[in-house]
Amino acid sequence: MTDPHVHPYIPNTAPEVRAEMLAAVGAASVDEFYADVPDGLRLGRALDLPEPFAAEQDLERHVSGLLARNVPTTERLSFLGQGTYQHAVPAVVDEVIGRSEFLTAYAGEPYEDHGRFQALFQYQSLMGELLSMDVVNVPTYDGFQATGTALAMAGRMTGRRRVLVASDVLPAKLSKVRDYVRVHLDLEPVVPVDGTADVAAVTERLGDDVAAVWVETPSRTGAIEHRLQALADAAHAAGAVLVVGTDPVGYGVLTPPAEQGADIVCGDIQSLGLHQWYGGAHAGFIAVHDDPRFVMEMPSRLFGLATTDVPGEVGFGDVAYDRTSFAHREEGKEWVGTAAALWGIAAGVHLALMGPQGMRDLGEVLLARTAYAQRALAAIPGIRLTDGAAHLREFAIDVAGAGLTANGIVDALRAEGIEPGVPAGEHELVVCVTEMTSQRDIDRLAAAITGLVAASAAESADTLDTVAIPEEHRA
C-alpha cells in the first residue's frame, strides 16, 4: 500500500481517514504495528500474484469466463452418483440460505442469533423425525467425517478396537474413515453377499473386542440392507455398537435404521436440498438415541430448547457444552469448529417443504426409477446386475458379458453427451438415477448402451472375421 489504494472492500483505505486513525493512535506509519515481526521474516517484496480486477464488472467477466468453460449436468445427461447426487432443490431452500442474515452469520449468542439457533434446532428435529431418533447434531463436515466420528464414539464408549465393516463402502469414504480412526480402531471388512451384509459371517466375527459393526445402507452400489435388526441383535449381544451409515433421502418410504436396532446413524445430507456444487456441498449428520452415554461422546454442537424470562418464548442454547473442545481443548471430544451449519439449515427447509408426503413420494419415485433403470439395462444382452438386492438410486451393472469395459462405455457415451455412470472396476459401472432422471432419460441411456453392445458384437464378429480366418482362406 505504498500508493494510496482505495478499495471498496476496505473503507479505511480512504487517505483522510487513514491519516486520522494513524494520528489517533500516535503512529507515524502502519509499519510501527509490525514492530514484533523481525526484519528477517519480512517478505520485503510484493506478493507475486496476477494483476487484479478492481472493477467489479471486470472481475465478474473474468471469473464467469472461466466458469463458462464448465459444461454442467443440466447440459449433459448424467447418471453420476457415488457420493454426490443430482436432486431437485426447491427455490425456497436457496432463498433461505441465501439470506444475508444466515449466509454471513457466524457464532453469535442465542439472543442476536436466535434465528440460527432455531433453524438448526429445527434441522435437528426434522432429521430426528425422518430418522426416528431423538438426538441429531449440528452438521459436521460431511458423511465421511460423521462416520469416522460415529465409529470413534463407539470406540470410546466400548474401550474396544475392532470394527466390522459389513457393507461395501465408497473407497474415498473408507480411506478417510480409516485414517481418521486408525490410532484407536482397526477396520475389518466382512465381505457382503449378494449386495448386503453377510449376517452369519458378521455374527461369527463378533466378540467382546468388537467396538462396532458398521453397516452402509444404501451401500456403495445402492443396495438396501434388509437385515439390520439381525445385525443389531448380534452386535448388541456382543456388547458392540451398531453404526449405520446411510443417506436419509429414502426414509419417506424406508424403515429408518433406528427402528431396526441401530445405535448411531450417520451420513451425508447433500441429497436433502443441496446442489451438486462439483462435490462441494456436503454435510454430515450423527444421530443417536437420547442416551447420555452416546450424547456425551458427540463432538459437535447440539442445540436444545430452553425457556426464557417470558412465558411462551422459545429459547435455545448449547446442550452439554462441556463435551466440546471449545470448553476443554484436548479434553473435549475430538474437536468442534466451523462445520456445515448452512447446509443443515438448507436440509431443514427442504424437509419442511417436502413434508411426510413429499418424502414418501420422493422415496417412491427413486425406488421406481431405480427399478426401471435396472430392468432397462439388465435387458441389454450381455449386461447383468451385480446383485439381487433392493436398490435405491444406484446400482451396478457388470458389462463383461457384452464385451465392453466400464471405461469404454463412459468414453463412448460422453461423446454423445451422456455420463453413463461411474466405473468401479474393469467391467463394473455404477449407475445413478434420481427424480431428475426421467423415463425418457433412462430409455436414452439404455438405447445408447444397446447401440454400443451391438457395435461391439458386430466388431467382434468382424474381428473374428479378420483374425480367425487366415487371409488365404477368405473369399
Binding site: N12, F53, N70, G115, V310, Q357
Partner: protein, 524 residues
Amino acid sequence: MSLPIAPKPAIRRFHQARWDEPVIFELSTPGERGVLVTPIEPGVRDAVGDVVADLPEGLARRTPPALPEMGQMRVLKHYLRLSQENLGADLNVDVGQGTCTMKYAPKVNERIITTPKLAAMHPLQDPADAQGALEIIWRTERMMAEISGMDEVSLHTQGGSAAIWANIAMIRAFHEANGEGEQRREVVTTIFSHPSNAAAAKAAGYDVITLHPDADGYPDLAALKRVLSSRTAAIMVTNPEDTGIYNPAIREWVDAAHGVGALASYDQANANGILGITRARDAGFDVCHFNVHKTFGTPHGSGGPGTGANAVSAALAPFLPGPRVVREGDRYSVREAGPLSIGAIGPFHGVVPNIVRAYAWIMALGADGLRAVAETAVLNNNYLMKRILEIPGASAPYATGRRRIEQVRYSWQELFEQTGVGSEEIGVRASDFGMHYWTSHHPYVVPQPFTLEPTESYSKAELDEYADVLAEIAREARETPEVVRTAPHNQTVHHTHHDDLDDPDRWAITWRAYRRKYPDAVGA
C-alpha cells in the same frame, strides 16, 4: 413536533426483529404441501409395479415421519422471519467475534457462483467438461502457495479445524513414513493457540503439551525448549496468538522444533494482519493452513461450510490429501492420491463454491490489495484498542505499551471487581445494541475476557460505534447494573435459562425428544 429532525443520540436505538414464531412443527396443518415431487411416469409404473409393496420384509416404513405439513409460502415466511432474528456480518459491526471475526464477503462473489455452470457440476464429470472448475482450483492453490510461501496447497478441508486435523494427519504420516511414528508421541502447543490444535492432535493419538506465555504474554521460547525432545512430533501454534501478539521468536521456535526432528505447524487461520508482510515459509514452517472463510472473504454460513487451505513444504507434499488437480499444458485434470497421501480427507475437492469465492476475492484485490487488507486490519485493530483502553475498567493484559497485530484479547477484570458485572453479561447486553460480542476460548486465562478483531472491513465510524457501545455498557455497569444483568431488553427473546441444557433428563435436542419428555407441554 415538526421539522427539522433532532440530532440522533450517541447510541443507536436498536431492536432486533421479534416474530415470536413457534417451533415449525406447531405450524403443521394436515394435507398442506410445500413442494410437489415429479410424478412417476405411467410407463415406469407399469414396468415396475408397486415398488414399496415389493420391498423386502420390514423395509417399508410403517408410520410416515412426523414432518410438518405446510404450504410453501408458510415455510418461506417462517424461515424469513427467523432470518431477521439473526445477525450476520452483513448486518452488524461484526468485530466482536475475534478470533473469528467476519470480514466482508463480497456480494459479487455470490452472483458469480450462482450459476448452473458451478452449482450443477458433478465432481465425477469428464474433466474436459470441468475445465473452469479445475482451473480455478489450481490457480487458487498456486496463489495460496505464494501467499504462504509454501510449495503445495490443498483446498480440501471444510473448516479451519478440519485443516488443523489435516495438518496433524500429514505430520503423523510423515513421521510414520520415516519410521518415527511410534517414537514421536507428543505435540506441543500454546494456551493462546486455537484449541483445535490441541484437540486435533489428541484425536490423532498424540499427547498434548500446552505452554503458557511468559510474563509479558509472549510465547515462552525457554519453556518450549524444555519440553521439546525426540518424542516431539510437532509444534502447532497460532501466530499472532489469540492475544494479537506476534511471536517475535517464531523462527527460533521453528528451529528448536526442527532441532529435535519435530515438524512445525502454523495455524494461520486468520492471516488478516500479515498478508504480504510475512509468510509461513519465511519462518521455516513445514505446514500451515489458512481459514479461507476468515482470511479470504468467504461467508461463514452461520457456522460453515468454511474452507481450509493446507499449505506444505515440498517435503510434506506427498502427504497432502487426494485427489489433486494437475495442470498439463493448458489442460487440467484430476490425479488420485499417491501412496504416501493421507488419502481422502473428505469427498472430492472440498467446498468448491468457497474456492471460487476466494479466487474472486483475491483477484479483486491482487498483491497491493492484500497488503492493504493487512495494513488496514492492523490499523483498525490498534485504533480500536486505543478506543477500548479509554473505557474505564477495560484493559489489554500483556505486552503493555506494545502494538498488536489483528486482534486483542481484552479484560473487564477491573470493571468486574468494581461492579460485579462480568464479561458474559456485557456480551448479552451488547446484543441490545445490535452487536455481537465474544469472550474467549476456555479456559479464561485472561480474566473477564473479550476479544475484538476489526479486520479491514469496517469503517472508522463503525469501530467508533462499537467502542461507544462498550463504553455505554461499562457506564451502565456502574450506574444501572440491573439493566446489564437482566439483558437482553431489545432482543428477539429475553434472558434465557440454560440450566436444562446440561441435564440429560431435561435437555431436549429435538422436538420429538421434547414431546416425549414433556408430554403435557402445549404443542407437544
